[in-house]
Structure formats: structure tokens, C-alpha cells
Amino acid sequence: FREGRNDSKNEANEIAEEENQEDLEDQDLMENDEEMSEGEFVKRYYDPKDRTRKIPVELSIQYMESNAYRTTYGDDPVWKHYRRNLMGYGRRIPKTRKTCIRNDRIVTASPCPICRDIYLVLDYRNVALLKQFMNDYDGTIFETEMTGLCQKTHEKLLLEIEKAKDYGLLNLDAKRVYYEDNLYKH
């Protein structure tokens, strides 16, 4: 039962990753890939639970515009069709797990929406991804109850959103400051 829905998403992701890889064969992914032997790289590439490869942000931003992303997620935010495997019905919904990835490896059968797709990199420059986790009307950030992110990834998301605000990349409004004119007249 646990393997059912989310594994099919993993398969779709694998196919998407393959397609993506074929399109970007000529690109240098990162130094670590070149340091590995080819056999080692291929083994890690095809291992769906391996997370030793760190995808650079620029690639992630390209991925968000790519066909692979579009066929996998369509128009919906990446967390929309993720369903947590909770115990029972009608119970108080507990916090999400602490982390999906330990020692550079996914240790769960149903990883959270960001951890399951290696090409979704949370970074202050990847505004398209960050916006999916924020409310369009007030600029609030969705809770993990809604998004299903593991706690570690949620912390990283909060950090990257704060950095993006520092660079002014998010379309938000700033808090209004009130001045006591008497202090400034001289």
C-alpha cells in the first residue's frame, strides 16, 4: 500500500530525469561528476535514492522551464499532488518528518515534494520554485501541513525566501514606517 502512489511519481521523475539528461548531455554538471569514474556516475545516476549529486541552481532554473517539468507537474505547484501516508482517519495531523535524506541518501519510500525530485533546488535565485510555496494574496508561506515538506527542507525554504527578500526578488510589499516629524526638522 505504501509503495503505490508515490512510487509511480518516482518512476515518472526517473523518466523525466532521463529525458532531461539526454537534452543536456553536453553540459558540464559539476566537478564531482567528473571526479567520479564513469561507472560510478552511471550507477549513482540510475539509483533513484542517491542524493550525492548536487545540482547547480542554474540547471534547476532551466528545469523549471523544461518539457520534463511540464509533463511531470503541469501547472500545479510541486506539492499539490503529494499525499502523506498518515495513520488512520480523523486524527490530529502530526508534523512532517524531520528529514527525508540522511547521509546523502533518501531513507524513506515517500519522500517530500522537494527531496523526491533532485532537480528541484531551493535557492534564492530560483524564484519560480519559491513562489509555489507562498500565498499569492498576502505573501505568507504555507505550512508543512499543506505542502508536506520535511522539516529540514522547510527550514531551507524559509531561509531562501528570506534571502530572496533581501535581494528584492519577490514581489512583496514592505512594512510601513511612521515618522515623528518633530525629530527630523532640525
Binding site: 494574496y137 505568507t140 528584492g168 514581489n171 512583496l172 510589499d173 514592505a174 512594512k175 527630523y184 526638522k185
Partner: protein, 317 residues
Amino acid sequence: MYGLWRCLGRARGLQKINLDNFRQNSTAPARKKQTVFYMDEVQDILKSLTTVDIAKVFRPRKEGHKTERSTYQFLTTEELEKMQKEYDRRAREKLQMPPVMDERDPQGRVLEKDPLLVGFDNSKIVFTDITYGVADRERLIVVRDTDGTLRTADWDEQDRINLIYFPREECKHYVPPMFKPENLTDLMDQGQEKYEYILDRNCGQFEPDHPTFIRTAELVYNHINEKKNFRALESTRHYGPLIFFLCWSKQIDEFLIHQIIDKNMTGAVQTLKLYKIVHPGAPFEITEESDKKSLINFAKSSVSRRKRQILAALDRR
């Protein structure tokens, strides 16, 4: 003998000439920006130029916290008028202009020098008076240096120490990277909506006489003047300071053209009046007979940089 007395009398008379008159004819006014900005006539002009667009002032803002739902009410005509007056008043409050000031002079004076205290500690000790209700600018903060000097804090220390005891949500303890000039120009080229955001962040992060505050504001105003995006700041609290800056730096031509095209002749003449207050020796006349005449006077004067464009815009009008 009589001639000598007359000369002396004249000399004494000459000494009574107000030196301000002499200074005002030079290129840069020596008065402080805040003195001019807070003059009643200037405030009146800036407030009347900042039109109140209720829809823009009370637009839903994305500030990162939950907002209340809007409500629908049934009102009689009197109640509606009363409510409109109340909201006009509230809008004026929201449109309070951030102060325009000169760069601050360095502060800090030595209270005591005590060389016997050398070596009492490896680091300085800061004493802060955390009385509630005192403005951050006026809070008493003193520093005992490692060489024994007791002095009041300089401006950077004042800003930092205030944040320790009275943190502000809109102010970070580091300078956010968006205030670097290269990042600012990138942001502004992205879209007009960023002007208000940058200026609001500016107000939250820095005091109005901080050098970075002034530099950021001037960068934004110059960008708006170049791209002629005056509408972006219309009906915001930054419209007044923008116009004040344009008058102070003698760059009102593009703005006047914008007002003429918008058919805002009274506004254009008020801008000219403001220019004359800021630069009293300006070589053009403002006539009461017609607004167009005053603008033509300005366009033909030596201080105008876009004579042809202003006259063309007036002709089309």
C-alpha cells in the same frame, strides 16, 4: 568731513545686508534640506501635488502576514459621506512623507579621558539608557573604549545598539544586498512596481539622514526621471520627496512635461512655485494671469533644459 561720515554710514549699512541674499544667488543653496522641506508652504504644495487615489492607497498589500477579509456594508448617504471623510483622513496619514534631510554630521563627543583604566578589558563596554518612550535618535548611549576614554556613541554604533534592545522587524542588523548600487539598478530595470518597494525598504532599514538612505533614494529618483515613470509613485508617500529632489537638483523639466501631458496645469505651476522657494534666485516669473504663461516663462529661462519639448507640449495642449 561730512563725506567721510557718509561713507562710514554707508559701510555700516552695507554690513546689515542679509548674507542669505548673497548666497541664494549662487548655484547651491546653503540651507539644510530639512529646513526647506518642513517649511509650511513647501509641505502644502507637496501635499496638494500628492493626489489621493483611495484604491491605490488602500490596495491589498503582500506583507507576509494574514490579512483581514474585506466586508460589505449597507450605508445611508450621510453615513457614506462620513466614512469617505474618515478614509480621506486615514489616507493622508498613510501618505505621510518620509523626511528629506542632509547627510548627518558625525556625532560623538568625549565625556572623560581616564588613562588609569587602560587594560581593564579586552573589548569596549557600551552603556545604554533603555528608558521606554525615548526616540532611538535621541537615546543616550555611551562607550568606554579600551584606552579609558568615555564617549557618546557615533551614529553607526547608535543604530546597531538600538537594534539590540529595540529590534525592528523591517530593519536587519546587516545591510541587505539589494542596497548595493549594481543590485539596485538591476531591480529597477525589472519593472516599475519595484520603485515603491525599494523606497519602503529604504525607510525601514535606514534613518533619513543616513548616507546610504540618501544615495538609494537619489538613485531611484534619477532612474524615474530618466525613464519618465512618474506614475509609478503617484499617490504614494514618496511622491512628495521625489518632486522635492527634482526641484533641489534642478531637473523638473521631464516632470513638467509629464504634468502638461496629463493636463495638470495647476500642478505644473505649483511645481514652479516650489522651485522658486527652493531656489529663490530663479530667473523666471510666475504670473497670475495664466498657467501657460508661467510655464512659457520657465521654458524660456536659462534654468530650463528641455525648452523645445515643454513649448511643444504646451502647444499641443
